[in-house]
Amino acid sequence: MLRKLMKHEFRATARVMGPLYLVLIITALGTNLSVRGMADSGNLFLNLLGAMVAVAFTVAILGVCLMSFALMIQRFHHNLLRDEGYLMFTLPVSVHQQVWSKIIVSAVWFFLTGAAVMLSLMMISLDVGVIQGFFRGLRAFFQAITAYYALNGTAILLELLVLFFVGCAALCLQFYAAMAVGNSFANHKTALSVVFFFVFQFATQFISSLLLSGLDTPGMAQFLANLDFQLRGMAAIHAGIALMTLLTAIDGAVFYVITVYFLKNRLNLE
């Protein structure tokens, strides 16, 4: 059922993101032409046209990034907490599946948006040689650090992908939790959702600061100094990524529990 939920979620979001990606690619091509010929043509009309296309490309990048973010919020709010909620919460699926479908689809769009922006930036480069040079440099970089640190590029890439997904999920869940709590009230649902978002942010910062200050005590310093472990080179990088992933997952898990609890027990559709 999760697969079916995701299928229809992709259907609902692709009709917005698809055309935006198309605009991004078209304006990137236009900017490429502008850089190649129009800007230095000496013709005022072509100069102006080139500048406008470049501005349109910048707006398209902003638009596609903002829309992928706005869509993550809008889909949760409109599809689950407004009128469509009557349909969605009476489907033979669990609340967990509803929430995961939203998280996974949003994460995929964040990833695709990043990839589309990178692709469009490559497209505005003057010629293919620049792109080839970029990838040659990237390969040389990986070869150099592989030789020096015995880097497992595939493992690092997979770990970073997992961190990216967990980070996206935690980001989505911060908004979902605030909306789920705000909409459990009878009135001022939107205003309360915004208030709860900032309350959650404040609480997260406060608890993080407390934990960090807890590390800076003589007792903790002594404890860490007495720990008998050594991490060198790539092992330290793997451990660092794993620790960041774990902390982000804990952050996301807290908001996940809040979201699911309120959707299950305090759902208050208008």
């Binding site: 009128d83 469509e84 033979p92």
Partner: protein, 231 residues
């Protein structure tokens, strides 16, 4: 087994009691009118049966199953407002229902849409309010469910549409299922009902078959309703 069963069901919104000690059983094969004035608790009861609300106390079950993921397979629910996604086309809506409900009869739905002249490519947002409601009803009644919960299906529509809606309900429901129709427009639905449940301020004040009301009290359900709920 009862299609719908409530035992001492209570629901409070803060200090306001929306439902109080409601106990009733609805058997398969019956069309039941859930009747009462505005604010009597009809929608709350239907929302509880759909798991959209959690009871304050008491129990509710559908074919022996508590409201939730499993009961949603058995219940076909028509909410009082249009809940179908407006960005979808009629065809995509058929795909949606077909994907999630094993008992969805796509050919029956296509036939009803075609009868109304709704092309599968037409988007819901392009339809009038009345047509959207009809499209939603078609989806709901195209399921071979065990229990149909229809919340105000004829509220806010013209008399011709009311007739269409009632004939769609009667012509398409699974005869082995129970149908619960919540409304305060008694005269329009009376002709299709087998039983009635009167709700007043969250309490069941009358439970009877339509035939009993006519034979024993010598009046129509509409007349009895006006008498019971006289201001």
């Amino acid at each position: 087994m009862e299609a719908l069963r409530c035992d001492g069901l209570c629901k409070q919104y803060g200090k306001i009691e929306a439902l109080s000690d409601v106990s009733l059983q609805i058997e398969p094969g019956r069309i039941v009118g859930l009747l009462g004035p505005n604010g009597s608790g009809k929608t709350t009861l239907i929302k509880l049966a759909n798991g959209l609300l959690t009871p304050t106390s008491g129990a509710i079950s559908i074919c022996g199953v508590a409201p939730g993921k499993d009961s949603h397979r058995l219940v076909s629910y028509l909410p009082e407002r249009t809940a179908i996604p407006t960005w979808m086309s009629a065809g995509q809506l058929l795909d949606f229902y077909g994907d999630f409900y094993e008992d969805f009869r796509r050919s029956a739905a296509e036939e009803m849409l075609s009868h109304l002249g709704i092309p599968l490519t037409q988007r819901i947002k392009q339809m009038s309010k009345g047509t959207r409601e009809k499209a939603q009803l078609i989806m709901v009644m195209s399921r071979a469910a065990k229990l149909y919960l229809l919340d105000e299906p004829i509220g806010g529509v013209d008399p011709a549409t009311r007739d269409y809606i009632l004939s769609t309900i009667i012509g398409n429901y699974n005869p082995e299922a129970a149908v619960v129709i919540s409304t305060h427009l008694i005269a329009d639905v009376e002709k299709v009902l087998d039983d009635v449940v009167f709700l007043d301020r969250g309490r069941v004040v009358l439970r009877s078959s339509v035939d009993e009301i006519r034979e024993e009290k010598g009046m129509s359900v509409d007349a009895l309703f006006r008498e019971v709920f006289k201001c």
